[in-house]
């Protein structure tokens, strides 16, 4: 009996100790090569990222990449915890909204000297690097932008043809847009309720800020760091809300509660739509070949000149605690540059790597829209955003989408709150959040 017990205990001990040996063996191997941890936020790109990593490892023997892919919903909480433990992965995805907070808390490696000394500036859109610098609120580069996201106007060519209106072009003004929206709003089955809207928007950031910037407005005063929309911004918000309340050319938010917001346009329920350029992908998926559509620049506001774009970069960042900064830089440059292929950038996102963006592959001539080159033009324009610390909270983003500034604008177009009252509340609530962050 005793011998059986001893046997069992010995076996258990062996099981426990075995992994230690295995580990020490692999560590012995690892002394020869650098292992980098890379965190990606896009599970859909997992296999393509793996291919990219294989390519990188093939040309860079001695560097091994271990990739972790996390659902976007959990990505930020997990990576924040890693950051608080000073245990960040060597290379990771970073969104523009967090640039300021992370750069100022010393959680990103300063890439300034790498960019100055080891980057061919003719192969990347350098204005994206400038945008990164500005967003971080510092005077150096704390992230490597790999793609630009911008906003544009989508229009349904079939509905424009049907109404006999010419397609929007770069000279279109707000007045042209408003007239078209009114004409395109129709009660097709004469049942007394409208089934085709000229335009569709609600309080979402991409739906509002795009128009604010097309009128050269500001929501945030960057000197005082207060929410204080200037007269151009107010004009834009009023122009939009009037489309619903006065012109009856766009539906209220509640009217559209059954739609996913991004599906209203591709399902043909609205003739025009403004949102991020990544909607090209969704439009293709939802509308397929059933409708003809195109993209255009935002109509120019009375005080705008059409040279300002609402855009922000998606970036890769390097941990300040990495032991292999050189290797991490090498990988970052590869992943954002020559390692990137068109199928790795969601349609509508604009790679910062010029050879890719300016190639035929980017234009995707066999798919709609036929004028994707418009995005390249926008990528070169001056950019503005409303990002601040705690942006998601005051703006009302993601799970908080129905609240914050987003919720207040929804309140105006749903006729729940009068315009002036909503702006008054926005001033009060948003500045409470901003004051907490910028004491």
């Amino acid at each position: 009996m005793k011998s059986v017990k001893i046997l069992i205990i010995t076996m258990m001990l062996m099981l426990l100790v075995a992994p230690l040996f295995a580990n020490s063996q692999s560590e012995a191997e690892a002394t020869e090569e650098v292992v980098l941890q890379y965190w990606s936020w896009d599970p859909e790109l997992k296999t393509r990222n793996e291919t990219m990593i294989e390519k990188f490892e093939a040309v860079n023997p001695g560097i091994k990449i271990e990739m972790t892919t996390i659902e976007p919903k959990e990505y930020w909480t997990k990576i924040r915890i890693m950051a608080s433990q000073q245990n960040l992965p060597d290379v990771f995805n970073l969104s523009a909204g967090y640039l300021e907070e992370w750069a100022q808390n010393g959680l990103l490696l300063d890439l300034g000297s790498f960019i100055d000394n080891d980057l061919d500036k003719n192969t990347f859109y350098m204005n994206l690097f400038d945008a990164v610098k500005e967003l971080s609120g510092t005077d150096s580069y704390y992230a490597f932008p790999y793609a630009l996201v911008t906003t544009c106007m989508y229009y349904n060519k079939d509905l424009f043809d049907e109404a006999g209106i010419s397609y929007p072009d770069s000279d279109w003004t707000w007045t042209d847009f408003r007239d078209a929206a009114i004409k395109l709003t129709k009660d097709k089955d004469n049942d007394g309720s409208i089934d085709q809207w000229g335009y569709w928007f609600y309080g979402r950031y991409a739906h509002i800020e795009s128009w604010v910037y097309s009128n050269d407005g500001y929501l945030i005063n960057r000197d005082s760091m207060k929410f204080s929309p200037d007269s151009n911004a107010m004009e834009a918000i009023e122009f939009l809300t009037d489309l619903v309340l006065v012109d009856n050319a766009a539906p209220s938010k509640k009217e559209m509660s059954a739609f996913r917001q991004q599906d209203v346009f591709p399902q043909g329920a609205a003739a025009m739509f403004v949102d991020g350029s990544w909607n090209i992908d969704n439009n293709r998926n939802v509308a397929g070949d059933s409708m003809n559509w195109g993209i255009a620049e935002l109509p120019i506001g009375p005080n705008g000149d059409g040279s300002l774009t609402y855009g922000w970069p998606d970036s890769l960042a390097i941990s300040p605690n990495t032991k292999h900064a050189e290797a991490a830089w090498k990988f970052t440059k590869f992943a954002a540059g020559e390692g990137l292929s068109m199928d790795m950038v969601m349609a509508g996102k604009i790679p910062s790597y010029r050879p890719l963006t300016e190639s035929e592959a980017f234009l995707e001539k066999d798919q709609q829209p036929s004028n994707k080159d418009l995005l390249i033009k926008q990528a070169a324009e001056e950019m503005r955003t409303s990002f601040t610390l705690s942006w998601g909270e005051w703006r009302g983003y993601g799970a908080a989408e129905a609240l914050g500034f987003n919720g207040l604008i929804d309140g105006i177009i749903d006729s729940e709150i009068p315009f002036d009252k909503a702006i008054e509340l926005a001033n009060k609530n948003i500045n409470t959040v901003l004051d907490r962050n910028y004491k």
Binding site: I81, L107, G407
Partner: protein
């Protein structure tokens, strides 16, 4: 006769077997509960070290008008939910307690929403209640009724979401009531019938009183359950329109994992805990006044 002492038994043996459970309890329940209490006195965004604030978070909370709205929403939601699932769970159980063919089918049919994901439930109900194209809207308009914006109007949204949650969870309470109903001896009902009681009188004088232990259990569970309404709100309204469906548990989530205000969020969570504890204590206190046990 003196019992022989068991030679292999040691007094700490049961503890040994409890270790896995105890470890889980300490690390995943008790630990976080204590830590989050401590965090509620700090300002912590995960990135930086927590700063001690004292009672600031609680002060901010009780001074914010949004909190009282959220608090009100939470109580309203819970009230609708508890009354809703208790009444509909009991009614369904009574219906299913009949001896008819095909009962098994109905039992599982009514239970299906319980095991359906809240996201799927949210999508389906958003379609049903959709203005213009929703099936309910169309049915009502055929009867000449203009439906309100069920999910878009702040006056209706909270009720609508609460009722969807009632629809989803009634099946669960139905099963509990069904077990309770089947526990009531037929002999008592027969005796009542012999004494001349009709069906309705038997229900109110025999069935309902003997069901009170089950009802008490249902109340206790559903009260606690009613505060855990995060998923459906996330799937359908995200706290809108105009904060009208924002409840404490949703606000806890927003502050913790969207705004990264762990301190404030922990303070909110503790207020929620206090409310649940208070109501549950009240429920237990009132128990002896109305719960009747068979034996």
């Amino acid at each position: 006769m003196k019992q022989k002492k068991l030679s292999w038994y040691k007094p700490w043996d049961p503890l040994l077997f409890l270790i896995p459970t105890l470890l889980g309890l300490i690390f995943f329940r008790v630990g976080p509960i204590i830590v989050s209490f401590l965090i509620s006195f700090t300002n912590w965004d995960i990135l930086k070290k927590p700063q001690i604030l004292g009672l600031e978070n609680y002060k901010e909370l009780f001074q914010s008008s949004a909190f009282y709205q959220v608090f009100g929403n939470t109580i309203t939601f819970s009230f609708i939910y508890v009354v809703g699932v208790t009444v509909s769970g009991l009614l369904l159980a009574l219906l299913l307690n009949q001896k008819l063919k095909g009962m098994k089918f109905f039992r599982s049919a009514f239970y299906t929403p319980v095991v359906t994901s809240a996201v799927a439930v949210g999508i389906i109900w958003s379609w049903i209640l959709s203005p213009k194209y929703g099936i309910l809207t169309i049915l009502l308009s055929k009867m000449g009724i203009t439906s309100p914006y069920w999910l878009g109007d702040p006056t209706f949204a909270l009720f609508t979401v609460a009722l969807i949650q009632v629809w989803k969870m009634s099946g669960y309470y139905m099963i509990i009531f069904l077990a309770g109903l089947q526990n009531i001896p037929e002999s008592l009902k027969e005796a009542a019938t012999i004494d001349g009681a009709g069906k309705i009188k038997t229900f109110f004088k025999i069935t309902l009183p003997l069901l009170t232990p089950t009802t008490f259990f249902v109340l206790s569970i559903s009260i606690i359950d009613s505060f855990k309404n995060f998923e459906l709100i996330y799937a359908i309204t995200r706290g809108g329109p105009q904060n009208s469906t924002n409840t404490l548990v949703y606000d806890v989530y927003l502050n913790a994992f969207v705004y990264y205000r762990m301190g404030y969020s922990s303070a909110l969570a503790y207020v929620l805990l206090a409310i649940v504890a208070l109501i549950t204590a009240f429920n237990f206190y009132g128990k002896k006044r109305w719960v009747k046990y068979q034996y």
